[in-house]
Amino acid sequence: MGCSLTKSAAEELIVGYAAGTLDPAARAEFGQHVISCGSCRELLAQQSAVWSALDQWQPLPVSPDFDGKLADRIARSPRASGWNSIFVNWTWRPLIPLAAACAILVFALLLTNSTQLNNPPPGNRSTLRIEQQVERALDDMDLLKQVGADVSIVSPAQPQKI
């Protein structure tokens, strides 16, 4: 034979009955119902067991220096007044990630520009090297002219004139 109560109604009554929060009339009525309803009777017994098990869980004593530590923390915390009140104002909070993102972007741009100045692109570097080599070659030729050597450019196929 099923219970006449809905599941949610039964739950609410069982929890209230075990907790002792039902008013006297409701308690008496549900008590009568439980006599004839096996499922509610079983659930009530289980809920009462849970309630008394939870009753046994007593908290630990609070540390004697709790208030002192709290007073120290309050004394050390910045008082919210003037400029401080602006920073603790909740309306500023959404702007903080945006400001952080802008700062990172600016830093990245500065870093990129600085890197380009110190390290020119590879194309410029090889041009510079060729120019230096040509200058050196011309300097060498001048030097050899001064000491009387024939510095005409000879291809490998032609024998060198002495």
Binding site: L5, E11, A53, P59
Partner: protein
């Protein structure tokens, strides 16, 4: 200053009985007067009367720490988080408005900190979360009236209860702790968790169903 109704909007079950999820009428009137006093004290803190803050700490310190202890299952962490709760209450005193009960606001902060700690500490969970000593024994105040055998049985039961609580999803755990130990009604728990009353009932009933499965053998 406003004072919220206790569970005035609790949904009625389809059956006849009236369900009153608060204390008896007289006790609830007393608690409402006390809670109104809390909001009044907090408004005076806002005006600069810091002695009133000390009164609020004295009145609610143990409740906050015990609630946090049952949430995070570690006394040292609970006290640390409780310090943070009161620090935030103090820090935001200038913007306090008595639009909700002071305890609702306070438990909201406490629950937020506890849920964050549970979420962030989940991968670091060790035996310390069960408040064990170095030799593995569970730290608990010994009752000198119990015999050694009774003490061992008690400690074993306690371990089962704590493990059953620890296995609850964090929001269900918060709802049970507020309902069972702080005796908050569905409406107030809904305000703390920022959800509907029906959502709170759903959380609570699922939590109790899980606890019945795990702890019913203790009957």
């Amino acid at each position: 200053m406003d004072s919220d109704h206790l569970d005035s909007s609790a949904a009625q079950p389809s059956w006849n009985p009236r369900v009153n999820n608060s204390k008896t009428a007289e006790a609830s009137k007393t608690s409402e007067r006390l809670l109104d006093r809390d909001a009044g004290l907090m408004l005076r803190v806002r005006e600069g009367e810091e002695a009133c803050f000390a009164v609020l700490v004295e009145r609610h310190r143990n409740a906050v720490i015990h609630y946090l202890y049952r949430m995070v299952l570690n006394q040292a962490v609970a006290e640390e988080l409780a310090q943070e709760v009161f620090l935030r209450v103090y820090r935001f005193r200038a913007t306090y408005e008595a639009t909700a009960k002071f305890t609702t606001w306070m438990f909201r902060i406490a629950t937020h900190l506890a849920l964050n700690w549970i979420r962030d500490g989940r991968h670091e969970k060790t035996q310390e979360s069960l408040d064990r000593d170095g030799d593995g024994a569970v730290k608990q105040v010994r009752d000198r009236c119990r015999t050694v055998e009774q003490e061992m049985l008690y400690q074993a039961k306690l371990r089962e209860v704590r493990q059953a609580i620890e296995q609850l999803p964090s929001k269900q755990r918060a709802a049970v702790m507020m309902h069972k130990y702080e005796e908050l009604g569905y409406a107030e728990i809904a305000n703390v968790l920022r959800c509907s009353e029906s959502a709170v009932k759903s959380l609570l009933f699922r939590a109790y169903e899980s606890l019945r499965i795990r702890l019913a053998h203790m009957a």
